[in-house]
Amino acid sequence: MTMFDIISLVIGVLLIVIAFLAINSKKLIKAVLFLSALSMLSVVAFVLMKAPDVAITEAVIGSGLVTSLFVFTLLSVRRGESK
């Protein structure tokens, strides 16, 4: 087994586990954070597959922006519920 195989195995297992957690976790904010982690791990996978452009874009847009949009949606709603 080469270094590449070992890293990709670890990342692959982590990706599937985190995806499963994101789908099945009861709390919405947890699911959002798992999605963010999933996106960050996919960035590693992109770098591993020699796609730096995609990695930067996914890190900034997929992981950063999308997560913040999710969080804003949840924040705006939670305030409404407490009222």
């Binding site: 990706l15 959002v32 999605l35 999933l38 020699k50």
Partner: protein, 112 residues
Amino acid sequence: MIQYVAIILFVLGLYGLLVNRNVIKMVISLNIMEIGLNLFIISIGFVYDGIAPIITSSAGTGALIYVDPLPQALVLTAIVIGVGTTALALAIAKSIHVKHNTFDLNEVEETV
């Protein structure tokens, strides 16, 4: 390896859409599906021992093996399109919440 993981992620996203009735969780599932698809597209173009498709002045273009740049360009487009749909889906989720005061589609159907 990563190719199989990508397919499983795609299918897990579909599974999430099937079992979840909460709109936020459904949008999350859509995103998981898109990440899986993006990984799959990149894995199509990967070549062992290939290098990223950027010409640097230190190396000539002759004997180097590059990974396929076209799938990378496609994924860039797909990621941005995914963000567009996610933002829209969240805005719709928010307006569902304004109207029905819940994110759960089961509860929405009860109130209607």
